[in-house]
Amino acid sequence: MEKAKLVLEDGSEFTGIPFGTRKAVSGEVVFNTGMTGYPESLTDPSYKGQILAMTYPLIGNYGIFQEQREDNLLVNFESDSIQVNALVLSDLSRNFSHCQSVISLEEWMKQHGIPGLYNVDTRSLTKKLRENGTMPGKIVFEDLDTEIEDPNKTDLVSSVSIRKPVLFRKNGSKKIVIIDCGVKNSIIRAFLKRDISVLLCPHDHDFLNEQIDGVVISNGPGDPEMCKRTIENVKKAMEKCLPILGICLGSQILGLASGAETYKLKYGHRSHNQPCAESGTKRCYITSQNHGYAVDSNTLKEDWREWFYNMNDGSNEGIIHISKPFFGTQFHPEASPGPDDTEFVFDMFTRALK
């Protein structure tokens, strides 16, 4: 059986069996500890430019669902295509079983031109990344090689953002703009479900002249400091006192717009079990996360407070303005995949819409 290798920037190698598309690729190697939800994760634009390793060993069990659209959004997927550059697994299920599934994970990856590697000791890979931090790497074959590139140095957001504004649902009770930095379908759905019209805008779009009740800054890949235009636009929205919700990268952008600083985490949070405490209360939530950068709580300006913090490493998990309707969560209240404990954030934001 053919072998292929995952080679990290520091020279370490992990041998496995290739599957999916036979192609050498490079990307930032990250790991996710979620135990289900590979179709959602693989289509999450926040993974753009990354080689994703799953710590849960058995992947592909329930195959891939038939593509189906609602409100012109793919149901059961987070975007229209696979976003990761490659997938690294321990055990791949070539056979799958689910009444709604039509193809295997492997077949789906082939259709999208994505390579994969399995039979890899993903635990040992995870430990390496945990100790040395996430780093760029590549998947190479005996006869196929590529250069290692760090995707964080490129403008990842513009590669996943839509090109032109799109309106979802014309006659909602309210209307918001979602700044698409790589939005997950579930975030759009969270508002449609609440009967709110969504104007999805490109990341650098000047939305301030639109007739809207509020602004959502979406999740997305890479370094928030790369999103200069978006930060400027958010600053303006703040001046207009529009209700603003930032999610994940969006929360970091909100933080930067408010004058706080962000930094890169050693190996990020990518899982469905991140415990977050609500500051000043005894309430805690299990959250779904996927990010490599975070707001530095110590740099929050006068009128801002840490809203949530991570119970494992103390990093910031949310920021909130003390008097104005501006808030952001580092975690994903829309979950998908993951626990929906914090869906109330959408209700909070909906109530804040004028």
Binding site: T33, M35, E40, Y62, S93, S97, C99, P275, A277, S336
Partner: protein, 1062 residues
């Protein structure tokens, strides 16, 4: 946190029985530790003397008393605890707690229920309330109706539609439940259910739906987490205790999984559970529709499994939460890195496999279904499903080395697959081999195809390996086989080689397992855990192997008939002693119900197979000082010689000497040399030879295989015909070891000695006598310590023989010898150079820890010479067996040379009668007894019992009997009401009287003649058991019982804690 509670009573679960096993030793022990840490005084009631929770170092006070409301009320009255824990002793504790609350006892003494409030418990336990609550949440439960009569049952079923599920309310582990496809079946089931409960539930039957469980934790601040998800491989219709289970869920999409998680939290919040609970779901594989099946507002078998599967200390945390802590304020005591508020991420899969012992019972149905029959379980960890499954199969210790490598054969696999039996997975393997398609297999079994594909992978690779010899077996193929969990031995059989050669070959190719850590967070953060498993699906070890001064203990594996919590007590006690003496302990075990697999017992825990291959793998990696094989029962003991022959240092008695005791020929010669008497015996090579032997010594004879675990396939043979029949059966039971035949001595006493010797010299010993005569397996017999009816001369001879054997075998550690004695004639019948079932009993009654002494001896430490004699005890201990006959539909509830009990209890009294009475009540006997159904067998037995009938008669006992016994009794002036035999089909009939609750006790001494009467007696015995009426089938036991009830009333049973007996 400032503690509100000063003293807390913990209710234990009593004897191990089907549906309620070792998991409650784990949860109770954790609860006690959690309370002690807070400085709260702990009182435990549990008559299960073999448990770790009843050890000296745990609860402040232990009561070896029956777990029922009478005794608990007395204890509360005496101890005045301000808190009580009901959720740590299974359904028994919960039910008793509810009863105490309803009677107002808790209120009267100001004893608060800790954790989930009574209302929350009732909302989960009472089906109607539960239904109501779930409906208020607008969530789905199976359409169901409650019935209080058979008529109501039938009309409910008609409105729901067949097939329907029938269940008895408030019953542990699905007792009295089943599936009815038509009215006739329904009528029969409903009668059975009403025997257990006044309330019967008729439910929509969710055939083929996936069955899932979630373990939920909630604190008083309403924070909620779901610690573990589990998926039953066997779908709805098969009790979750009977199912092969994986964790985490495998075939659910993220949306399905998180939907069920969200529902779990919603339900648990609404019900107001505080601490831990378990919620079960059914999920329709066709459309994702779900039903909530039930919520258990207590620690359970599943929560023990979830705890071991994830590394999350559920019982410990649940206790803390019940004291008012928040999840976020508690540390995860396993990782010490994270808070208790988190949901574990697994980077492995676990497979739980139930262990059945159905072949030990007569007349039993081998099918499995909605009632629990399994007696234990194993849990295997791997990074592929195939790997974990094959490990689990080996862990069961049922003679199977893997999915395909076993001796099970199936005449009609399709039938075996459709109607699940305890061997179904093997039938599926055979079916797949024979070409049954995955689709058809899915249709037959309703098992999700994903699992079936994985099974097929195992079949396929086996076929591939078969094409090669060891010499030309490709490296990749061997590696793949190991990754799919194949044993060296299995590979050896496939390539025509032997286990050692395969081992050498694979090691030369560097195909070796790596050790991985279970850290609850999939390596996301560094965590210092000691919880380990091995896998071939990895390249790197998580730990380094530089530790010095390590001692490895082999655990006992799954609980089963003949090997249960008592061996876990030995392992744990030994581990603690070793640690006290500064050794580092490596524990190897695979049973999730045990305390030995708790994170705080040893320095390193390998959750692994107890097999030659795996022990050697770990030994080679860890290089411990040596291995202790004598604590975990027969499974590890059998590995002593093979390991020793392979260069492993076995600590304690030399494996060569162990073999001299285990090998019948060697042991017999040794006894002859020492001039120690033994029953005449012969190894069996042919039927003719056996017949000749039997004729020479005379019937009855005892036949059994040579390596014995709890008398598997042993039998007393009365005649030539029986002998022939048996030998045909025996050959299929064990091919590897020949059977032996020996003279069976009737009317003899059985006595055993538990002892520790150092370099052949006796250090300490305890002699216990059996109440029952020889012929009842020692594991089923009632033990008395100190002996009450044994001659001093017999005891002296036993001690002398024991000294001689210890010296001859250079015993260096624990051992047990069984004797039979008639007059003062003493013969040795068995000798085990390891701990025995009764070590915890004798240690706790004697208040002398035999295991600590044995461990010190094994490690060559100095030990004091102890000459504590039976005369030093001012009290008596009696150990009684718990039978789970009620659960084992159809089985004949009699005692014999085959062990059948699933657990035991022991109580202490100022004299024999008191201790005996307490221990019988602990196994379910009820007082007062005012009516007895007597059937005492042939005329000599009737005469033998007459004296006791007089005693009862004098006490105003009302007798029922059939005409034979009744005539006999009347002749001696004892008023006896005549009832008809069951098969007479005439009223007044015994069965009717039993059903109507007119009989308090059944004494039925089986006789071995007359077919018809046997059937009648069987029906009486079975009916008694089905109805929960106390049944005595042994003459000696019946006599002792009569004496006891004639001298004692329940008020005479003293409420004294263990430490009050000095």
């Amino acid at each position: 946190m400032k503690q509100k509670y000063r003293k807390v009573l913990i209710i234990g679960s009593g004897a191990i029985k089907i549906g309620q096993a070792g998991e409650f030793d784990y949860s109770g022990s954790q609860a006690i530790k959690a309370l002690k840490e807070e400085g709260i005084s702990t009182i435990l009631i549990n008559p299960n003397i073999a448990t770790i929770q009843t050890s000296e170092h745990l609860a402040d006070k232990v009561y070896f008393l029956p777990v029922n409301s009478y005794f608990i009320e007395k204890i509360i009255e005496k101890e005045r605890p301000d808190g009580i824990l009901l959720g740590f002793g299974g359904q028994t504790a919960l039910n008793t707690g509810i009863e105490l609350a309803r009677k107002g006892v808790l209120e009267e003494y100001g004893t608060e229920i800790l954790g989930s409030p009574l209302e929350a418990i009732l909302n989960t336990e009472d089906r109607e309330l539960f239904k109501h609550k779930i409906k208020e949440l607008d969530l789905r439960i199976p359409s169901s109706m409650t019935a209080h009569s058979e008529t109501e049952v039938i009309s409910s079923a008609n409105s729901i539609g067949y097939p329907v599920m029938v269940r008895a309310a408030y019953a542990l582990g699905g007792l009295g439940s089943g599936i009815a496809y038509n009215e006739a079946e329904l009528r029969e089931l409903s009668r059975k259910s009403f025997a257990f409960s006044e309330q019967v539930l008729i439910e929509e039957y969710l055939d083929g739906w996936k069955e899932l469980e979630y373990e939920v934790v909630r604190d008083v601040y309403d924070n909620c987490i779901v610690v573990c998800s589990m998926e039953n491989i066997d779908p709805m219709g098969i009790h979750t205790g009977e199912s092969i289970v994986v964790a985490p869920v495998q075939t659910l999409t993220s949306a399905e999984n998180f939907m069920l998680r969200a529902i779990s939290i919603k339900v648990i919040r609404y019900l107001g559970i505080i601490g831990e609970c378990n919620i079960q779901f059914a999920l329709n594989p066709e459309n994702g529709d779900y039903r909530i099946i039930e919520v258990n507002a207590r620690l359970s078998r599943s929560s023990a499994l979830a705890s071991k599967a994830t590394g999350y200390p559920l019982a410990f945390i649940a206790t803390k939460l019940s004291l008012g802590y928040s999840l976020s304020s508690l540390k995860n005591s396993i990782t010490k890195e994270t808070s208790a508020f988190f949901e574990p991420a697994l980077d492995y899969i676990i497979v739980k496999f139930p262990r059945w012992d159905l072949q030990k019972f007569n007349m039993i149905n081998q099918e499995i279904g909605s009632e629990m029959k399994s007696v234990g379980e194993v849990m295997a960890i791997g990074r592929k499903f195939e790997e974990a499954l094959q490990k689990a199969i080996r862990m069961l210790d049922i003679g199977a080395n893997g999915l395909t490598d076993n001796d099970f054969t199936f005449e009609n696999p399709r039938q075996e697959i459709r109607q699940a039996s305890d061997k179904r997975i093997f039938a599926i393997a055979e079916g797949l081999k024979k070409g049954i398609s995955i689709d058809e297999m899915n249709n037959l079994s309703k098992i999700n195809k994903w699992f079936l594909y994985k099974l097929k992978n195992i079949i396929d690779i086996e076929e591939e390996i078969r094409k090669y010899s060891l010499e030309n077996l490709p490296h990749e193929l061997l590696l793949d086989a190991k990754r799919l969990g194949f044993a060296d031995l299995t590979v050896a059989k496939l390539v025509g080689s032997d286990e050692i050669s395969v081992r050498v070959a694979r090691k030369s190719k560097n195909i070796v397992p790596v050790v991985k850590n279970i850290d609850t967070l999939a390596a996301e953060y560094p965590a210092q855990t000691n919880y380990l498993y091995t896998t071939y699906n990895g390249d790197e070890n998580d730990i380094s192997f530089s530790e010095k001064n390590q001692v490895m203990i082999l655990g006992g594996g799954p609980y089963r008939i003949g090997s249960s919590v008592e061996f876990d007590w030995c392992c744990v006690t030994s581990a603690m002693r070793l640690r006290k003496n500064d050794y580092k302990v490596i524990m190897l075990n695979c049973n999730p119900e045990t305390v030995s697999t708790d994170y705080d017992i040893c320095n390193k825990l390998y959750f692994e197979e107890i097999t030659f291959e795996k022990v050697l793998d770990i030994y080679e990696l860890e290089s411990p000082t040596g291995i202790i094989v004598s604590m975990g029962g027969q499974t590890p003991n059998s590995l002593a010689l093979p390991l020793y022959n392979h260069g492993v240092h076995i600590l304690g008695t030399s494996p060569e000497d162990i073999d001299r005791a285990e090998d019948r020929h060697k042991f017999s010669n040794l006894l002859d040399e020492l001039k120690i008497d033994q029953p005449e015996w012969k190894e069996l090579t042919s039927i003719e030879e056996a017949e000749m032997f039997a004729q020479t010594v005379g019937f009855p004879v005892l036949v059994r295989p040579s390596y014995v675990l709890s008398g598997a396939a042993m039998s007393i043979i009365l005649s030539r015909d029986e002998l022939k029949f048996y030998l045909e059966k025996a050959s299929s039971v064990s091919k590897k070891h020949p059977a032996v035949i020996s003279k069976f001595i009737t009317e003899a006493k059985e006595i055993e000695i538990d002892a520790v010797a150092k370099k052949g010299k006796l250090v300490c010993y305890a002699i216990s006598e059996h109440i029952e005569n020889a012929g009842v397996h020692s594991g089923d017999a009632t033990l008395v310590l100190p002996p009450q009816r044994t001659y001093l001369e017999t005891m002296r001879r036993i001690k002398t023989i024991t000294k001689n054997i210890a010296s001859e075998l250079h015993i260096n550690g624990p051992f047990n010898i069984q004797f039979i004695a008639k007059e003062n004639d003493v013969k040795v019948i068995e000798c085990n150079l390891r701990t025995s079932r009764s070590f915890p009993f004798v240690s706790k009654i004697f208040r002398l820890n035999f295991i600590e002494l044995a461990t010190d001896v094994i490690m060559q430490h100095e030990v004091p010479v102890i000459d504590r004699s039976a005369f030093d005890l001012d009290y008596v201990g009696v150990k009684s067996s718990e039978f789970s006959f009620t659960r084992l539909k159809g089985s004949d509830p009699i005692l014999g040379v085959e062990m059948r009990s699933t657990g035991e209890v022991a109580c202490i009294g100022d004299d024999f009668n008191e201790a005996f009475m307490k221990s019988l009540i602990s196994t379910g006997f009820k007082l007062p007894v005012e009516t007895i159904l007597l059937s005492t067998g042939p005329i000599d037995k009737k005469a033998e019992f007459l004296e006791y009938s007089f005693i009862l008669h004098k006490r105003g006992m009302r007798f029922y009997a059939t005409s034979g016994t009744a005539d006999f009794m009347r002749k001696y002036g004892i008023e006896t009401e005549i009832l008809n035999w069951p098969l007479d089909m005439k009223e007044p009939n015994i069965l009717t009287y039993l059903s109507d609750g007119k009989i308090d006790l059944v004494i039925n001494i089986p006789k071995n003649i007359e077919r018809e009467e046997l059937d009648n007696d069987y029906l009486i015995r079975r009916k008694s058991v089905d109805l929960g009426i106390p049944l005595i089938t042994n003459m000696q036991l019946a006599k002792r019982f009569v004496e006891a009830i004639s001298r004692l009333d329940i008020q005479d049973l003293k409420i004294k804690s263990w430490d009050e007996y000095k």
